[in-house]
């Protein structure tokens, strides 16, 4: 069997699911969730088939191509619908379809009581299709289709509970901010077109080395802008926190494990371009480092469990972007962290969802406390995810994050020191805020109270369809890192695509690991001192200036609001006024003056036929004169 032809099926199956579920009508309400899950599992199975097939080939033959049809054939412009499946894409396919299937399964339980769940699964399938298209495309334009497709799915899913104005606003915000990033991607594609005459991966990346650095820098910066939008990096990070308005499985799948990592994929995929543009690379690392700290700080201050996790996501993607900015030293680790993060962050979100499920959708951690007794499975899986993310030795996060910190130092020079220290600092803060989440949720005294209607939550363990995915993801969070790292398996797997460079680290690997352990302990103990030893107040204290700013996403939203939203409102309002008074005023003014003039001229029409006759004769005389003169000339 020719395995290449299976690639299209990866995208087609969930797409079919989306089409059937969204157009199918009420008849499918009951089978919808199962159908959606099934069609999400199809790409996973096909992915596994392709994966085993790929493992059987030599490293050079592993890249598969499938050309479906010519998409936009225009003079000098050739866009195809064609797929490329190499090791990098394969990694993503397995991650996306695997985690995706688990989260579909989880959603069956989580969305059980929602009357619009058929649609929910349709959207999820749409997301899977778009995401798979994104990673399978063999050219940037098709990637762009997937890129916006996931944006659309994200929009639909964040705003799934549309009756809540906050959800609708959050969805719109996510889409708009993403659009700004998309603008970067489309400009990048245009630049590629004018530079290379094409935007397919192979010719572009093949010719990139011979191209001027200026062009490459421009393309790289535009790609970075795109990545910032999609991956919630500073300065386009503001949508991610609000995106938590969506159902929790959505947060787990889209806003933790897969979609938000698309930026990392884009940068790693375009590695050759960045390699040729050190300035762009520097910008990438700076963005990564800043976001890493930004997200971490925000995560420390949030009392909403999902928003705290969202801050964490931002921060972890900051790590990945940082790694991707390091060039060939970091590409592999960026992807590795991406995969392990996919496991443990999805697990953490599902755990958070499970907690909310048992707590009447309460999200404020100050109203939790002591839940470990009520939800043991959730506690254990969440706990394993927690240990993985803070980088507890032996668990996934340890391997991947440690490598990134190492690589940051290996960058060399002052940059290397700065980046390395930032990454270390980030690790400390990560340990701090995740411990905080853990303690506030599962330890201490119970702090929940009956709500206004007198319904006290009855915390309980979630159903099987929810716990099984959590358990599977926990397994992944525990073992994936180790599995990848033993014998540098993952590095060898990806090397043909991303290439790898060890760099010269000024510090030995052991030193870095030691330092990481130290900051880890510091972070955990600080959190324990603050939240474990003292009871947690159920109403948030006012806090320091930094805390308050962090609660408000470090004032970035306020900045956006004042500068962009208000400014935009004023601009549009004044433009509406200008259009009405000035542009239209000129037109209406012309009309009015013509009207006034005719009012005057009207008086010449005195009604006497003889007057008219005079003008007729006069006119005739003038015409004759004119004719005679013309003749004469």
């Amino acid at each position: 069997m020719n395995t290449e032809n299976l690639i299209a099926l990866l995208v087609a199956a969930p797409l079919l699911g989306a089409a059937v579920l969204l157009c199918g009508g009420r008849r499918l309400d009951r089978v919808g969730p199962w159908l959606g899950t099934l069609l999400a599992a199809v790409p996973f199975v096909i992915g596994l088939v392709l994966f085993t097939d790929m493992l059987g080939k030599g490293a050079e033959e592993r890249s598969l191509h499938q050309h479906l049809f010519s998409w936009i054939p225009v003079e000098g412009f050739q866009a195809d619908v064609a797929f490329q499946l190499d090791q990098l894409s394969m990694t993503f396919v397995l991650l996306i379809s695997g985690v995706g299937t688990l989260i579909h399964l989880y959603s069956i339980g989580y969305m059980e009581h929602d009357e619009r769940r058929r649609r929910f699964f349709g959207y999820l399938n749409l997301f899977l299709a778009a995401m798979l298209l994104l990673v399978l495309a063999d050219n940037y334009l098709l990637l762009y289709v997937g890129w916006e497709g996931v944006g659309l799915a994200s929009y639909l899913l964040i705003g799934f509970w549309q009756h809540k104005p906050s959800a609708a606003t959050a969805a719109k915000k996510a889409f708009l901010v993403n659009r700004v990033g998309d603008m970067g991607l489309s400009i990048a594609i245009m630049l590629m077109f004018t530079t290379f005459g094409t935007f397919a991966f192979e010719p572009v990346l093949g010719a990139a080395e011979e191209t001027s650095e200026g062009k490459l820098t421009a393309i790289g910066l535009m790609l970075l802008l795109a990545a910032c939008g999609k991956s919630a990096q500073v300065p386009l990070q503001s949508w991610l926190g609000d995106a938590m308005e969506g159902p929790t499985p959505v947060s787990a799948l889209i806003h933790a494990a897969t979609m938000v990592t698309a930026g990392v994929y884009l940068i790693v995929r375009s590695g050759v371009i960045f390699n040729g543009a050190p300035d762009a690379q520097l910008a990438v690392t700076v963005v990564g480092a800043v976001t890493l700290l930004f997200g971490a700080i925000v995560g420390c201050a949030k009392d909403d469990i999902k928003k705290a996790l969202a801050g964490s996501t931002m921060s972890q993607i900051g790590y990945m972007i940082l790694a991707a900015g390091l060039g060939p030293i970091g590409y592999v680790f960026a992807i590795m962290h991406l995969v392990t993060h996919g496991f443990f962050k999805a697990g953490l979100f599902l755990g958070a969802g499970s907690v909310m499920h048992g707590m009447n959708d309460e999200v404020d951690m100050r109203k939790y406390g002591g839940l470990r007794k009520y939800m043991p499975v959730t506690f254990v899986t969440f706990g394993l995810g927690y240990l993985a993310i803070i980088g507890f030795p032996g668990l996934s996060g340890f391997f991947s994050k440690d490598k990134i910190i190492e690589a940051a130092f290996a960058k060399g020079g002052t940059e290397g020191w700065i980046l390395g220290s930032v990454a270390l600092l980030g690790a400390a803060i990560t340990a701090y805020y995740m411990t905080r989440v853990m303690i506030m949720t599962f330890f201490g005294e119970k702090r929940w109270e009956p709500d206004a209607q007198g319904n006290a939550p009855h915390p309980h363990e979630s159903p099987k369809s929810m716990t099984i995915p959590m358990i599977l993801l926990a397994v992944g969070s525990v073992f994936a890192g180790g599995f990848f790292s033993i014998g540098d398996r993952f590095m060898h797997w990806l090397e043909p695509v991303t290439h790898h460079d060890h760099g010269d680290s000024p510090l030995s690997a052991a030193t870095v690991t030691g330092a990481t352990m130290v900051v880890l302990v510091i972070g955990v103990s600080m959190a324990w001192v603050q939240y474990g030893r003292r009871p947690v107040p159920s109403v948030a204290p006012r806090g320091s200036l930094v805390t308050r700013a962090a609660r408000r996403d470090l004032l970035q939203d306020d900045f956006n609001h004042v500068v962009l939203v208000r400014g935009g409102e004023h601009l549009t309002r004044s433009l509406v006024y200008v259009d009405h008074t000035l542009v239209d005023g000129v037109v209406n003014g012309t009309a009015a003056s013509v009207g006034g003039l005719s009012g005057r001229l009207r008086k010449l029409q005195n009604g006497y036929a003889r007057s008219y006759a005079v003008s007729m004769f006069g006119g005739a005389a003038v015409l004759i004169v004119a004719t005679l003169l013309m003749r004469a000339v």
Partner: protein, 523 residues
């Protein structure tokens, strides 16, 4: 002489218009079915044209030529290139939907006067517009084109002024005053443009001695017809002005929001999706072919105006409170893209602009018609009067969203293809212009999503709580449009292949070559 297919395509709706108008007052329903029948028959003929047209054949095909006014060299000359065929197909395709969508728009409010026959008039006027638009797309004689370009205004005037939107905030009197203001504004604006064009048409005759597009263009190309630089520029401006009003280009746009706001939704679609296309089509066919040098001379100014249109239209769309005016400003923004693509003078830009004309027709039709259905349910055009419709009428909201997504050029839907081609085409020659125009896609997302959010999401307003979902007739209008949007977004190849040769001809007319990619240029 073979069967005059093009004449038949244009004449059939004209016959339909007469037949519909002649239906007796009492048989109102019959008039509707008759109009629908004729529009569908025209669609069949348009499909025949599409099939008979060979993209790789001569530039103009299915040509017809008859003497008409011999003394002035005016001939009845028809012929289509790929662009014309695409737009004829679009027109013929949209009219049945427009008729179907406006099925009840012209039912008389009370049956007190049996001689009052608005329904017949409404559908007859729509068919009349169709006939004139189609013949404008076919005419290769400048004078013939001019006549129908202008004559179109008459039925449009009555459609705007006579059949207003019943969903009006104010009193009936105020509504009718605003309506006639809009209609008169539409008429005067376009008449002024048309008059200036008439002067240019006469000027062209004086210079060239005949009106035949092909002959003049040929003579221009092989150098046997030499125009003084200033003459050519003046003539170009005369033509361009009329087309810019029709298109409409900033700052000649202010008639469109009034006209679209006051007209019924199907008529609004007719204005923006069909009639306005004649303007942009004519820029491509007449301005570039007849006055290549002047077109190049004017390009910088036109590009700036088009850019202003894009950004300005989008910003004003954000600031609108009225759904239909919002769509109108969005259209102004889109027309900016089309004009940008035409005057970028690259293959991608012009192909993109042509596709854009078709795709914009489809996307605006989808969005506007659904908006019309929405408005007819609630009886208000104000965005603030809606909220939570998604909950009570999910299919309506869903189709509205798809229409909106098409308007913001989401990849996978047809408008994306054309918008991206335009942007690439512009960027290849004028990078700065391309980048600024790209801002338009962010603003498009803004106004579309704000509209969707305010009308469809949030808590259900009491006034909309009993709103019925789309009916079968309405679904029959929207579903094919959406299918086409998706179909042409995924597989636009048939359309591009239809258009490419025509674009190649135009590019050789203006004697411009696509900019070389840097890598190849270096070699």
């Amino acid at each position: 002489m073979s069967f005059p297919l093009l004449t038949a395509t244009a004449a059939l709706p004209a016959v339909g218009a007469i037949a519909t108008a002649a239906v007796p007052a009492a048989r109102r329903a019959a008039a509707k079915w008759l109009a629908l029948f004729f529009s569908l028959a025209t669609l069949v003929l348009a499909v025949v044209v599409l099939v008979r047209f060979d993209p790789d054949g001569d530039r103009y095909q299915l040509t017809e030529s008859r003497a008409w006014i011999a003394d002035f060299g005016v001939r009845y000359e028809l012929g289509v290139d790929g662009i014309g065929v695409a737009l004829i197909a679009l027109t013929a395709l949209l009219i049945p939907f427009i008729i179907l969508a406006g099925w009840h728009d012209a039912d008389p409010l009370e049956t007190k006067s049996s001689r009052w026959r608005p329904t017949q008039g409404f559908f007859a006027l729509i068919l009349a517009v169709e006939a004139m638009v189609i013949i404008s797309f076919e005419a290769t004689d400048v004078f013939l084109f001019y006549i129908f370009f202008e004559a179109m205004l008459i039925p449009m005037y009555f459609l705007i002024g006579g059949f207003g939107d019943r969903a009006h905030a104010g009193s009936d009197e105020k509504a009718s005053a605003q309506r006639s203001y809009a209609a008169v504004k539409f008429l005067l604006y376009n008449l002024v443009g048309g008059l200036i064009m008439l002067a240019a048409v006469i000027g062209l005759y004086v210079v060239a001695g005949n009106f035949s597009l092909q002959e003049i263009a040929e003579a221009r190309a092989n150098g046997s017809l030499d125009m003084a630089t200033n003459t050519e520029r003046l003539l170009f401006l005369g033509f361009f002005f009329a087309f810019a009003v029709k298109a409409p280009l900033w700052p000649l746009h202010t008639w469109l929001p009034n006209a679209m706001g006051e007209a019924t939704a199907p008529v609004a679609v007719l204005i923006t999706a069909v009639v306005d296309k004649v303007g942009t089509f004519a820029m491509l066919r007449f301005c570039l072919q007849l006055f290549p040098e002047a077109s190049k001379w004017a390009t910088p100014v036109i590009l700036v105006l088009a850019l202003i249109s894009i950004i300005y239209g989008a910003l004003l769309a954000v600031g609108q409170r009225d759904i239909k005016r919002l769509v109108a400003y969005a259209s102004i923004s889109h027309f900016g893209f089309i004009i940008l693509g035409i005057f970028a003078m690259t293959s991608q830009g012009q192909s993109g602009a042509t596709l854009y004309m078709v795709n914009h027709g489809l996307s605006t039709a989808a969005l506007m018609l659904v908006a019309g259905f929405l408005i007819s349910r609630r009886g208000s055009r104000l965005i603030a009067d809606y909220g939570g419709v998604q909950k009570v009428a999910p299919v309506l909201a869903g189709t509205f969203l798809v229409g909106g997504l098409a308007t913001l050029s989401l990849p996978g839907l047809a408008p994306f293809v054309s918008e991206f081609l335009v942007l690439v085409g512009v960027f290849a020659r004028y990078p700065a212009v391309g980048i600024i125009a790209t801002l338009g896609i962010v603003l498009a997302a803004l106004y579309t999503l704000v509209l969707y959010q305010r009308t469809m999401t949030g808590p259900v307003k009491p006034e909309v709580s009993a709103m019925p979902d789309l009916r079968v007739r309405e679904l029959a209008v929207v579903a094919p449009l959406i299918a086409l949007l998706i179909g042409l977004g995924v597989y636009p190849k048939p359309l591009t292949e239809l258009v490419n040769p025509a674009v190649k001809h135009t590019m050789s007319d203006v004697q411009k070559k696509d900019p070389q990619p840097e890598v190849e240029a270096a070699k």
